[in-house]
């Protein structure tokens, strides 16, 4: 597996983390016991980071189209 292929795996894992953490933060924000503005900010930040990572992933795949996955 080349660095290109491993990077794709890494970006997918990071995307899962960003969206998962965003969901966690919004869930914490909606929970009355642990709600705080930090969770709202964190959720928004992770959501935006996830979207940016998705855009970057597409850019990366296009840029390294000719490099092997092996």
């Amino acid at each position: 597996m080349s660095l290109k292929a491993f990077h794709v795996v890494f970006i997918l894992a990071s995307l899962a983390l960003c969206f998962g953490m965003s969901a966690w933060a919004f869930w914490q924000y909606s929970d009355n016991e642990s709600s705080s503005q930090t969770h709202l900010l964190l959720g928004t930040f992770c959501l935006i980071s996830g979207i940016c990572l998705g855009i970057y992933g597409r850019y990366f795949l296009r840029k390294l189209r000719d490099v092997s996955y092996l």
């Binding site: 990077h7 894992a13 983390l17 930090t38």
Partner: protein, 260 residues
């Protein structure tokens, strides 16, 4: 004697030797971290109710550190791509950012460690539990900035509830003669802190080692680019694979330690 298969792939593996070597090494690393992750899960599910700490780590700081590592993975791969396009200056810029990200990560982690080593829990002879950051400590008294803990549902749960009610707490003065037990949130504080320091400490060592390798290839080892550019690009790829592994470990570590 010339080292074989540093550039051209071996016929039986289809890969150059260094790539096979790094994947074998990463397989052993998976076993090392896998064993520690398994230990964590077994300890976590076996803990008594209320005794496993929650909300003890600073999630926003951990998030920033995660972002720093994700950025470093992006720059390491963009550096390698620049090298493949014969753009050495761009490669150098991206790899320098990678090394700086590594230092930033270790710096932020050190700050988190410092916070834990200055965070104390005191149990007095009359059974009261106090928790907070150490303000001062003399032979006569200990001053904490924190809370008195209701430990009826477990000390960890008591700490969590007290911090939720009042984040900063108040100044607490405790006479040394009244203290039965005092200790900071270092590795010996409880099971959670032990596994936290083991996992994150081992990971931080990997970050430092990876940064040193990348820095070596980037500066003293860069002479190879003039004599054997393909072999040099392969070295960069192999160091990038190790770096991605280290970052991927953190992608799993972060939610497990900070969020669950």
């Amino acid at each position: 004697m010339e080292i074989p298969y540093t550039v051209e792939p071996r016929k039986d593996t289809g890969l150059y030797n260094a790539k096979v070597g790094i994947w074998l090494f990463l397989a052993s690393e998976v076993m090392l971290f896998g064993a520690l992750f398994s230990s964590y899960i077994l300890l976590r599910v076996g803990a008594d109710v209320g005794e496993w700490p929650r909300d003890l780590l600073n999630v926003p700081i951990g998030t920033v550190n995660t972002l720093v590592l994700i950025c470093s993975s992006v720059t390491v791969v963009l550096g390698w791509a620049a090298l493949k396009q014969n753009n050495f200056a761009k490669y150098r810029m991206f790899q320098t950012i990678t090394v700086l990200c590594a230092f930033a990560f270790v710096g932020i982690k050190s700050f988190e460690y410092y916070d834990k080593f200055t965070h104390y829990q005191v149990i007095t002879k009359d059974g009261k539990v106090y928790d907070g950051h150490l303000h001062s400590r003399t032979a006569e008294q200990v001053v904490l900035q924190g809370h008195e803990i209701d430990a009826s549902k477990g000390k960890a749960e008591g700490v969590r509830k007290a911090q939720k009610a009042d984040k900063h707490g108040k100044e607490i003065v405790i006479k040394t003669s009244d203290i039965q037990k005092i200790g900071n949130y270092g590795p010996k504080h409880n099971t959670y802190m032990s596994i936290y320091f083991t996992l994150t400490g081992l990971h931080a060592l990997h970050v430092i080692a990876g940064a040193l390798v990348i820095a070596y290839i980037l500066w003293p080892g860069a002479r190879m680019w003039k004599t054997e550019p393909e072999r040099y690009a392969n070295r960069v790829e192999v160091s990038g694979l190790f770096w991605h592994f280290v970052d991927l470990v953190w992608i799993f570590l972060f939610p497990v330690l900070y969020l669950l």
